[in-house]
Symmetry: C2
Subunit: 234 residues, 2 copies
Amino acid sequence: MHLFYTPDINSDNYTLNQEESRHCTKVLRLTGSDIIYLTDGIGNLYKTKIIDTNPKKCKVQVVETQNNYQKRDYYLHVAIAPTKNMDRLEWFLEKATEIGIDEITPIITENSERRIVKHERIFKKITSAVKQSLAAYHPKLNQLKTYKEFMAGCNFDGNKFIAHCYNYNLEHLKNKAESKTKVLILIGPEGDFSKKEVQTAIDNNFEEILLGKSRLRTETAGIVAVNIINLLNS
Amino acid sequence: MHLFYTPDINSDNYTLNQEESRHCTKVLRLTGSDIIYLTDGIGNLYKTKIIDTNPKKCKVQVVETQNNYQKRDYYLHVAIAPTKNMDRLEWFLEKATEIGIDEITPIITENSERRIVKHERIFKKITSAVKQSLAAYHPKLNQLKTYKEFMAGCNFDGNKFIAHCYNYNLEHLKNKAESKTKVLILIGPEGDFSKKEVQTAIDNNFEEILLGKSRLRTETAGIVAVNIINLLNS
């Protein structure tokens, strides 16, 4: 099963862009009448038949549409400090997308060593993971924000949590979060959130949580958090 | 807190090897009376004081010993097919070690594209993760085995599970596994286990389980499994 991410699909006939056309005809070597799947990334899965194998403008026709394909009954937003080593952030994005996440915000915190991320590059990483895991929902990737901007603009109407390592006697996320709810989790950088940032979060009604007894790297903490919320809803 | 893996420690005075001595004195720039921690990887954590900063033979003296440091009350063995791209297997090893795992066996299956792994190289990856996560237990890494050899030599006295994608109506691992038990989980390659391999596992009293509704890559499936067992015991 081959899935293509085509957010602009709006009719039963669709022409793949040049890159996808090439991939479809030259890499996958698909031919007329072969079936490929398209998704708009907002829940619609289109089963389509190839009707023109032009390697620059491959045309397909929708033969079946599934709405709300594998729709989750929870909503998960993770705001995470990009890791110093970009590979680690990209791993997080790939794995989180595979396991299930709805929204991601990269945040610059006081102890962040990395203060720049290439939005387009990491968006592409997410898109590949969407295709690989045959998902019909593409996680929303917000622009990089400072912690302060994020907090100022945060009007999330669900349960809000902040993970940090200052206190290993906190309640575990698995006991705090509830199934079928909207959840926002903050994950800090290599040097953790500052105490001031933790306090700001508490003042903004975030609850402090633990992700386990071990010391986890940023991207591991992110994956563990995503998995906990996924398991609560499985 | 700096942790060194020194499996051969057997008295209160210890001399770091050349590489570790260099790391200690040149990279970390530690000096006399500074504190470093050593672990033998089998549960003992030694707090030591540097008594000689020779950059080739750095000497330390144990000032405090903690036995069974952060001992887990469960045992987890994962047998996993190495991924085609070695980075993915190494990522699994790092994350599994951070989250908590006791034993790992790389297995060659029918659909495995990768049939060789450098034992020493992946052992080192595990060791770095042990040090990074300040753990006193070093996961056991078994030599690469074929699936057949693994099954023939398997006398695991705990609950045995096999994860595969042939049937999405199987019970989820989170509902099958129990806390404070010994667990062995088999994770297949990119092309999944063959049906014959699944049958062989069933014949050897492995229970089939699901790791979620999404299609997960090998290394993601491995991490999800490790995390589920860890959460059951958190």
